[in-house]
């Protein structure tokens, strides 16, 4: 086990810089998820930590050692790939024991380590099969087994669940989390699925265009996103955004259609802003400060109702914890809780404390 420290990390491919000076640190034994849209550089970071790509500038520490110029095999890491990367001509046991064989461990030792790992993952009876005789979930387990057997300081996961179907993904998510609890090995997990990141990680690193947008605990990102991008990326269904304006001294945020949201702290603000509304912070209601919105779509899941509505000429999502049957095109009144509303600078996108 070890800490991982990433310091001013830059990476260029043919003069195009894809990572622009990334820094963050991972405490010993933590489960960190790197999350962001595709092309944000999250997989590149993983590959740099693994040593599969060369660092352009900056440093990566595992424990107290700089590993920039150390060969992948000497970094004491294990990586699980999206397509599993199992050796097709080797059995499950041979796949799992591959690295130990290269370390010239004795047959008995390899067998014991493979058996142990297989037991943890519940694949004991598959040891003599070839990868092509396994299902997707089983292959995924073997890939993890191959990583566990090495007892590495750091686990690296590159979108390991993307090739599985939705149900299996939820199950493997729980298994992975349990595995981490049991082994307590420092883990870096790359995913484009923010739900995976939110549910599994101790720390989430949100990335965009080769920059780190925010590092924090999952709920911290949800409640206090640093900017509009993080606010929109974290949370499902996603936050809705409405442009609004206010003047110094006025408590009112005025939307483009003239509807007004008021809160005393708005008095210090002046100019154009973006109001962020979480779907669950909007309620049905007639009296009080209510907003009119036109229903454009409605999805009933039984326990909840998800509405897509047009408010102040913007599409927002509303999540009701109740059944609500409405024809498309109807106008309804909703109540917005002003204390839960987030305000972003319309130019920089940064969230303002209000």
């Amino acid at each position: 086990m070890a800490t991982v420290e990433i310091n001013e990390l830059r990476k260029s491919f043919d003069d195009v810089e894809t990572l622009h000076g990334i820094s963050f640190s991972i405490p010993d034994g933590a489960f960190v998820a790197l999350v962001g849209p595709s092309g944000c550089g999250k997989s590149t970071i993983l590959r740099l930590v693994a040593g599969l790509e060369e660092i352009t500038s900056g440093d990566i520490y595992i424990g107290d050692n700089i590993i920039n110029d150390i060969e992948p095999k000497d970094r004491n890491i294990a990586m699980v790939f999206q397509n599993y990367a199992l050796y097709p001509h080797l059995t499950v046991a041979q796949n799992m024991g591959f690295s130990l064989k290269l370390l010239k461990k004795s047959k008995v030792e390899i067998e014991r380590a493979v058996k142990e790992a297989a037991e943890i993952l519940g694949i004991g009876e598959l040891l003599h099969r070839l990868p092509k005789q396994l299902s997707g979930g089983q292959r995924q387990r073997v890939a993890m087994g191959r990583a566990i057997v090495r007892q590495p300081q750091v686990f690296l996961f590159d979108e390991p669940l993307s090739n599985l179907d939705a149900k299996l993904r939820v199950q493997m998510r729980a298994e992975l989390k349990a595995l981490h609890r049991r082994l307590a090995t420092t883990t870096i997990y790359v995913t484009h699925d923010q739900i995976e990141a939110m549910t599994m990680a101790d720390i989430v690193v949100v990335m965009r265009d080769g920059n780190v947008e925010q590092v924090g605990r999952p709920l911290e990102l949800y409640d206090k996103p640093v900017n509009q991008f993080v606010a929109g990326f974290i949370g499902s269904p996603a936050m809705g955004f409405l442009p609004a304006t206010t003047k110094v001294g006025s408590n009112e945020m005025v939307f483009s259609d003239g509807q007004v949201l008021s809160k005393p702290t708005y008095a210090t603000l002046d100019g154009g802003y973006i109001i962020g509304l979480r779907p669950e912070h909007i309620r049905l209601g007639g009296d009080g400060a209510s907003f009119k919105a036109t229903i454009e779509a409605s999805e009933q899941t039984g326990s909840e109702t998800m509405l897509v509505a047009r408010l102040a000429d913007q599409e927002i999502t509303i999540l009701l914890r109740e059944r609500f049957d409405t024809p498309i095109g109807d106008v309804h009144a909703f109540v917005i809780d002003p204390t839960a509303v987030q305000v972003f600078d319309s130019k920089t996108g940064a969230r303002l404390e209000t």
């Binding site: 693994a50 040593g51 599969l52 992948p72 095999k73 890491i77 294990a78 990586m79 790939f81 999206q82 397509n83 990367a85 050796y87 097709p88 001509h89 591959f98 690295s99 290269l102 370390l103 191959r146 090495r150």
Partner: protein, 278 residues
Amino acid sequence: MSARARVRRTNFMLDILLFVICILLLTPLILLIANGFKTPQEMLVWPPTLFPKDPTLQNFHKVFTETPLLQWMFNSFAFAILSTIAIVSTSALAGYIIGKFPFRSINIIFVLFLATAIIPFEVYMIPLYFQVKALGLLNSIGGLLVGYLVMSFGIFLIRQNVIASIPDELLEAARIDGAGELWIFCYVVLPLLRGPLAALAVLAFFQAWTAFAWPIIVTTRKASFTIEVGLANFQSAYTIDLSLLSAASAAVMVPSVLAFVLLRRNFVEGIAASGMKD
């Protein structure tokens, strides 16, 4: 007529057609083998008999005792085996490198490899002959091998297979697992290329086994002839003894037919797999 009956009838017609084609293809072969067992008199009978009336082993006996047929077969065999080993190993290495380590200069080299395929061997046969002569390799297996060590199609075939069937992640996983590049090549890449390499081996073997133009100019002494050159020699040195030539040809066919039958599956699979994803 019901649809099923129609399908059955079509299948039956197809079977007949294929059977006829099969007979047409096999008849010369059967005739050749049969001729080996005929007396010189029966050879000249018209219409030719498909099965000899009075089979004799005389021709085979004569061929094996009066000509160095076994020596020629050995020469051909050694030449073909060595050429196969060389072509398979150069193609595997070059195809893997070109397929998995792409940088600009290697692509130029690859295009040059491919370009050699459009230059007919006859164009550089004579200059090559002078080189072999200067090296003192005339009348030797070494001399035969020059020009049969690398096959551009082989490099292409392996490159296609490497790109289609060996994912980068597999090599990366092996690197993280602690394998060196040579180790990866031998224990990860080669086992996965078994099919195409076997197909290439068959191709390479027959290319050398059936080579004629190059062996006939590189070998001048009877003892160093390959089988192809030796057979051609029957027609001049032993004039028109067709039964002898047939017996020799029939004897020569045995190893090559045997090899093809044994490797048939690999051969078809390997060729079919090239350029196709698993």
